[in-house]
Point group: C2
DNA sequence: TACAATTCAATTGCACACAATTGAATTGTG
DNA sequence: CACAATTCAATTGTGTGCAATTGAATTGTA
């Protein structure tokens, strides 16, 4: 009689959904690196810029909500992007608590180089179109749960 | 005539697969935190312990391959787990370059508390069983690509 | 209107991640 | 055997992430 499962099976990494999620996320970000190096951005800086390329101007709270990041992560990162001249940081007149982040002309120009990246990355994936769509749908379903709070 | 797409659409966060992966990974790890706090482990320490609960003894290279982590991350983390008494770190006799990490009795005992965690986490997910299986399969397909190198 | 509660970004402290380098140990090769 | 190349873990330096706290600004309420 074979007896190869036990109450400890749940503790095997291969039986957990969180681990491949965690590992995959880091592997994909790593795949972006050579491309992002060309425009001197880290992955986190890149997704902040993506929001600005869409919105032109957002406050830190909105940015954090979009990216699931808090001010502890964003504040130093935004200061760095400001020092690179890609954005400006100014307090709102209406409410001095709010910090408004605005794309500069240099930031806008970076978009021209960045637009090449998604295409280059797309070729790196071994998923079918259907798998991509499925993965996307499932991940956003999980994220939706987080957003509800 | 509506003209609401452009060559910049690829730069919208919602059109990228990497972002929900990155965000989801962090959100799920965050969901583990209250449970891991009870046994005083971080998520990364937890997955290292999971390997040891399975293997009893591994070297740093193997551990890194299993977890997609390098010695820069593992060395300080293993020293911390050693100082907690959960594992020992010894050089291999056969090859002094190799560091062998071995589970201690205390580490083995922690397994009894850890075994409750996966069950508690499972209840936190809003995915169907099918979605869970699908997600798992797709993520490991992507990871397989990384493993090939 | 006072003033308590709330809402912001910033700060602090800790724990990863990871690229790049270092230095010791081992292996491969002439 | 000598010694160059390789393989390890450790170290260094930079950049996140995030919980918890702080302090200024605003809002809600007695």
């Amino acid at each position: 009689m074979i007896m190869d499962d036990s109450k400890y099976d749940v503790l095997k990494i291969e039986n957990q959904l969180c681990f491949p999620l965690y590992a995959c996320s880091r592997e994909i970000v790593k795949r972006y690196k050579p491309f992002l190096d060309q425009i001197d951005l880290t992955y986190t800086q890149y997704i902040v810029m993506m929001v600005l390329w869409e919105e032109k101007s957002v406050n830190v709270k909105e940015l954090g909500a979009r990216l699931y990041l808090d001010s502890g992560t964003l504040t130093p990162l935004l200061k760095k992007l400001e020092s690179k001249g890609l954005l400006t940081r100014t307090r709102s007149d209406k409410d001095e608590r709010n910090l408004i982040v605005t794309l500069t002309e240099a930031g806008e120009q970076l978009k021209e180089q960045a637009v090449e990246i998604p295409m280059q990355i797309a070729g790196c994936t071994n998923l079918t179109a259907e798998e991509g769509v499925m993965l996307y749908r499932i991940l956003y379903k999980m994220l939706g749960q987080s957003a509800e709070k």
